[in-house]
Amino acid sequence: MLLVRHILEKYLRICYNCIVLSTSAIALYVHIPFCRRKCNYCSFISYENKESSIPDYILALQKELLYYTGSNTISSIYFGGGTPSLLSVKQLNDILQTIHTVFRVDDKSEISLEANPGTIDTNYLSAIRKAGFNRLSLGIQSLQDKELAILGRIHTTDEARAAIGFARNAGFDNLNLDLIYGLPGQTLAEWHDTLLATITLGAEHLSLYGLSLEQNTPLWQAIEEKSIPAPDPDLCADQYEMAEDILSSYDYQQYEISNWAKAGRECRHNLVYWQYRSYLGIGVGAHSFTGNRRFSNTPELDTYIPIFTNDLAPVYDVNEKINPQLQIAERIILGLRLNRGIIIAELNHQSGINIMEYYNKQIKELTTAGLLEYKNGILRLTRRGRPLSNEVFWRFLPD
C-alpha cells in the first residue's frame, strides 16, 4: 500500500513539473494570506487572526516550491497578499533561499513585496532590501483618514507618509503606491486632493483601483443596509478621467487600465499577466498559467498546509485547459488592458487567423460606439473605452 502511494505521488509530482515546464523565463508569484485585520472591502484570499499558522504555512510553501525542482529561469518574483510584510525578515529570507535553490533567478529580476504601511519601519525594510527585494508596493489606498476608516485600513495617512520615508531610507528606489477611488461619499474635490498629495510623494509607480463592491464584505453589507451611501458610477468615471488628466501632466505614463509609471518603471511582473506569458503561483489560492492551461491551489488554508507539508497530491481549485479559441479571446482581453494595445499582425501570426475578419462584427460595433480604435495595425481601447472595458471584453468571448 505504502509503495503504491509512493509511486503515485512521484508520478503526480512529475506531472506537476511537466505542466509548468516552459522554454522561456517565467514569473513567480508567492501568496501570503495573512492580515492583521481584514479590510472592509476585501474579498481576496486572506485570513485574520491566523498569524500563528505562519510558520507552518512557510514550511508548506517551501515544500510546494520543491515540487518544481529542475524547472525554469525566473524573471520576476512578486510577494502578494494578504500582507506579506507581516512575515519576519528571516521568514522572507527562508522563502527566497528556497526559490533560489529550486529555480535559476535572473540577476536582473524584479523582486516585489507588498507591504501595509502600518506594519513596517526602516530597519525591517533595510533588511529585506538586503535580502534581495528591489521593489516595494505600499497599499496606502487613500490620503484621507476618514476614507481609510471606511475602508477599514489598519494605518493612518501619517503612517502611510512615514512608510514612504522608511522605504527611501532603506534604499528602495522602485516604489509603488496603491490608491482606491470611487469610495462611498468621496467627492471629486477630495479625490483631486488625494491625487495631488500622492504625486508629491514621488513614487515611481501608481496603481489606481476603482472600488469594487464584493458580496458579503462588511462594506457591501453597510451599503446594502444603507448605513453608508452607495458609490455613484458616474462620479467614479469622472474620478477616473481626472486621474488620467492629472497624472499625465506629472510624468506618469498610463500603461494599463489601472496602472501608471514613470519612464521605464512599469511593473514587469504584472506585464507578464497582460502579455499572456507563463507564470507560476505558489501558496494558498495562487494561480499558475502555462500558455494553454491555468490552475490554482485550494483557497483553504486548512487544506493547503497539510497537503504540501505531507507531500500529498495537490488539490486544485481551478484546473482548466484553455482551448485555442479561448486563448485568442484571452489574449485580446488581457492585451487590450494595456495602453499600447494589440498589434494585430502579431496576433494574426500567433493565432493563425485573421483577427480583424474573425471579430469584424464586434470590432465594428465597438469602434462605432467609440470604445475601440484601430490605427496603424494596432487595436486599442479609447479613453472612453477604458472605464467601460468590460463592455468591450465580453464581446470577444467565444459563444
Binding site: Y209, Y273, G281, H287, S296, I333, P387, L388
Partner: protein, 608 residues
C-alpha cells in the same frame, strides 16, 4: 332505486369556509371512506386545488346513509366550484340538485360570492339548509352571523344549524336534515332520456368523462347518445358513479347522479350545461338553456425561451382538452417572439392556466397584462374585435368603440366604505346601491356590514383592483362581479417607444384623460428596469404619434474590473462570461438590450 330515497345536493361556501372539510366528514360518517383513508379533503383531486383551497372541477360522490327512520338513502353530494370565474359551472351544478347546504363561517359571515351563489340556488328553487361552520373557533361570532343570515337571506335563527365540520359537531344532524328537508327527484323513468352535464374532464384512456344528472329516462352502456346543444353524437363506453373512486354500473336511472365515458377527444365537444338524450326516440326539449361561457379576458402567453414555443403549443393544446373555456390563437410579438393570445374566464382562471402550464409542463412563461375584448366599428363601417392593444386602430379610424361592463358587489364592514368608494371612483365605477346587512356591528370599530353595488368597466378590474380592495379594507371586503354587457367608450392606445422604436408588448388601451399619467408612470418605471446602455436611450410614451411623456436613460460610463489579482484570470473571465450570458437573455429592440423583467415590471404597473 326508488327515487324517494335519493337526495341530490351540493354545498355552497366561500373559499376556506369549510366545504371540503365538511365533505370529508360526510364521507366518513356515511362510511364511504374510513377516517384513516381520508387524505384531507378528498374531493379536491388536483394538487393545485388542494393548495389553493378552491375547487376547479366539480365531481359527485354517492353516499349511502341509514337515516333515523331506518331507511337507507342514497345521497349524491355534488361539488361546486367556489369562484366567480366559474359561475356558469356553478349554475349548472346547482341545476343538477334539489337542495343545497349553505356553509357560512362563524368567524367571517356572508361573503359576496356566497351571496351570489345563494341567489342562483334560489333561482333554481333549491331547498337551502343554512349551516354555520367553525363554531368551535375562538373569535367566532355566532350571534352576529345568525343575525346577518336572517337579515340578508331571510332564514329564521332556529333554522340555522350550528356545526363544526372539523370536530364533527352538528354533522349527524345535518345528515338528517338533508334527508328530511331536501325533496327527492321528480323525474320520470318512462320518458325519453334527458340528463344534464354538470362537469366534464378528459381522460387519456376513456376520452371525455361527463358527470351527469339523469332527470328523465335511463342510461345504459352501449347506447348511442345525442347532445342536444352541440349536436354531437357518441356512444357510451362506460357508466357508473363515484364512491369516491369510480365504480362502473350497468345503468343510471331517473334521479341518479354519475358519470359516462364517451370516448370523445375534447371537452369542447361535450360541454357543461348540455342536455344528453338518446339518438333513437330522443327528447325534444333541452333541460336548460345551452350557453357555454365565453372568454372575458385575454392575455399573451409566451415562452421565456423562444425555443420552447412548440412545447408551449403542445401544452396549451393538452390543457384545452380539459378546459373548454380556454381559447388560444397563435400570436407573434416582435418583442416576445411566438406565443399565444389566450382567452379566459377571469383572472383566477388565467392564474390557474399559467400555473398548470408551468407546473405540469415545466415551462417558464412571460404573460402580458390581461385585457378585455373591445368591439370597434371603424369609420369605414367595418366591425372588428380587438383583444390585443397593438391591433387597435388610430383614433381617427374609430367610429364607435365598446367595452364590456360588469356589475360588482362588495361586502364590507362600514368602516371601509369611504376608502372603497374612492377605489371604485378611481376605477370608473358608477354607484348603484347600498344595503345594510342586519343591525349588529362586527367586533371592534369595524361597524355594520354593508353591501355596495357598482357598475364598472371590466377593464378596471384587471390591474390591481382586487389587491387594492383587499388592502384598503384590511382584507375584510369581499367581491363578486357579473358581466352585464357592452357599453360605448372612448379609449385610446398608449404606445411606448424605446430609442425611437415602438414596443408592441408595452402598448395598452387607456382612457384619454389618464393617458399622460399612465404614460409618465410607465417610462419612469422602464427607466428603472432597463440597464444603462453604451448610448443615451430616450423612452417615450405616445398617443397617435404625439409624445406625452419622456425619460432618458443616460449612457453608461463605467464598467471595469479593477485588479487582476495574482493572475486570477479565470475568475475575471467567468464574470465576463456571466455578463455575456446576461446579455443573451435580453431582448434587443432598436439596439437597446431590455431584460425580460422589464416587461413584467411595466406590465404589472399599477394604473393609478
Amino acid at each position: 332505486m326508488d327515487q324517494s330515497l335519493i337526495r341530490n345536493f351540493c354545498i355552497i361556501a366561500h373559499i376556506d369556509h369549510g366545504k371540503s372539510t365538511l365533505a370529508d366528514r360526510l364521507m366518513e360518517l356515511t362510511g364511504a371512506v374510513r377516517s384513516d383513508e381520508i387524505s384531507e379533503q378528498m374531493l379536491d383531486s388536483m394538487d393545485l386545488e388542494r393548495e389553493r383551497g378552491i375547487t376547479i372541477k366539480a365531481k359527485a360522490i354517492r353516499l349511502n346513509y341509514k337515516a333515523k327512520d331506518g331507511k337507507i338513502y342514497r345521497l349524491n353530494l355534488i361539488d361546486t366550484p367556489g369562484h366567480v370565474d366559474f359561475s356558469y359551472e356553478v349554475s349548472r351544478t346547482l341545476a343538477a340538485c334539489e337542495g343545497a347546504v349553505l356553509v357560512i363561517d362563524a368567524t367571517q359571515g356572508i361573503q359576496a360570492q356566497t351571496l351570489s351563489n345563494v341567489y342562483i340556488a334560489m333561482d333554481h328553487n333549491l331547498e337551502i339548509i343554512p349551516a354555520m361552520n367553525k363554531i368551535d373557533l375562538q373569535g367566532s361570532e355566532p350571534e352576529r352571523v345568525l343575525q346577518e343570515i336572517s337579515a340578508v337571506l331571510g332564514f329564521k335563527k332556529e333554522e340555522v344549524l350550528l356545526m363544526s365540520a372539523k370536530t364533527g359537531v352538528g354533522v349527524p344532524e345535518l345528515l338528517e336534515q338533508i334527508v328530511q328537508r331536501i325533496p327527492p327527484p321528480q323525474g320520470d323513468n318512462a320518458l325519453p332520456l334527458r340528463a344534464l352535464i354538470f362537469d366534464s374532464h378528459y381522460d387519456v384512456y376513456k376520452g371525455v368523462i361527463a358527470h351527469i344528472r339523469v332527470v328523465d329516462g335511463s342510461i345504459t352502456k352501449g347506447t348511442r347518445l345525442h347532445l342536444m346543444g352541440s349536436g354531437t353524437d357518441m356512444e357510451i363506453l362506460e357508466t357508473g358513479y363515484f364512491v369516491p373512486k369510480p365504480y362502473p354500473a350497468s345503468e343510471l336511472s331517473a334521479g341518479d347522479v354519475g358519470y359516462i365515458a364517451t370516448g370523445l377527444k375534447s371537452v369542447g365537444e361535450c360541454r357543461v350545461g348540455d342536455t344528453i338524450t338518446t339518438v333513437a326516440n330522443g327528447a325534444t326539449e333541452l333541460l336548460l338553456g345551452y350557453d357555454p361561457p365565453k372568454p372575458m379576458i385575454f392575455a399573451g402567453i409566451y415562452p421565456t425561451q423562444p425555443e420552447d414555443y412548440l412545447e408551449l403549443r403542445e401544452a396549451i393544446e393538452k390543457l384545452s382538452l380539459n378546459d373548454a373555456s380556454l381559447t388560444f390563437e397563435p400570436e407573434f410579438s416582435p418583442i416576445l417572439g411566438n406565443g399565444f393570445r389566450c382567452g379566459l374566464l377571469g383572472l383566477l382562471h388565467l392564474d390557474i392556466v399559467c400555473e398548470r402550464l408551468e407546473r405540469e409542463f415545466s415551462l417558464s412563461l412571460v404573460v402580458t397584462v390581461p385585457g378585455v375584448k373591445y368591439l370597434v366599428t371603424k369609420t369605414n363601417g367595418q366591425k372588428i374585435t380587438v383583444i390585443n392593444p397593438a391591433e387597435l386602430p388610430e383614433p381617427s379610424g374609430i367610429a364607435i368603440m365598446e367595452e364590456p361592463w360588469v356589475k360588482i358587489s362588495i361586502i364590507t364592514p362600514s368602516l371601509f366604505i369611504g376608502a372603497l368608494m374612492d377605489l371604485t371612483r378611481e376605477s370608473e365605477g358608477i354607484y348603484k346601491h347600498t344595503e345594510y346587512m342586519g343591525q349588529f356591528t362586527t367586533g371592534g370599530e369595524l361597524g355594520q356590514r354593508v353591501r355596495l353595488e357598482y357598475e364598472m368597466p371590466l377593464r378596471s378590474m384587471l390591474a390591481t383592483f382586487y389587491d387594492q380592495l383587499k388592502s384598503r379594507s384590511r382584507g375584510y371586503a369581499s367581491l363578486d362581479h357579473e358581466f352585464i354587457g357592452y357599453r360605448e367608450t372612448k379609449l385610446i392606445k398608449l404606445e411606448i417607444l424605446v430609442n425611437g422604436v415602438t414596443v408592441d408588448a408595452f402598448s395598452r388601451i387607456v382612457p384619454p384623460d389618464k393617458a399622460h399619467d399612465i404614460g409618465k408612470a410607465m417610462v419612469v418605471r422602464l427607466k428603472k428596469s432597463i440597464p444603462r446602455q453604451l448610448f443615451q436611450v430616450p423612452l417615450q410614451a405616445a398617443i397617435g404619434g404625439h409624445v406625452v411623456a419622456r425619460e432618458d436613460i443616460s449612457a453608461k460610463r463605467k464598467d471595469v474590473l479593477a485588479k487582476c489579482y495574482g493572475g486570477d484570470i479565470t475568475r475575471k473571465r467567468k464574470l465576463l462570461e456571466q455578463q455575456k450570458e446576461g446579455k443573451k437573455k435580453m431582448k434587443s429592440i432598436g439596439k437597446v438590450e431590455i431584460p425580460k423583467e422589464a416587461f413584467l415590471d411595466v406590465l404589472k404597473l399599477n394604473q393609478e
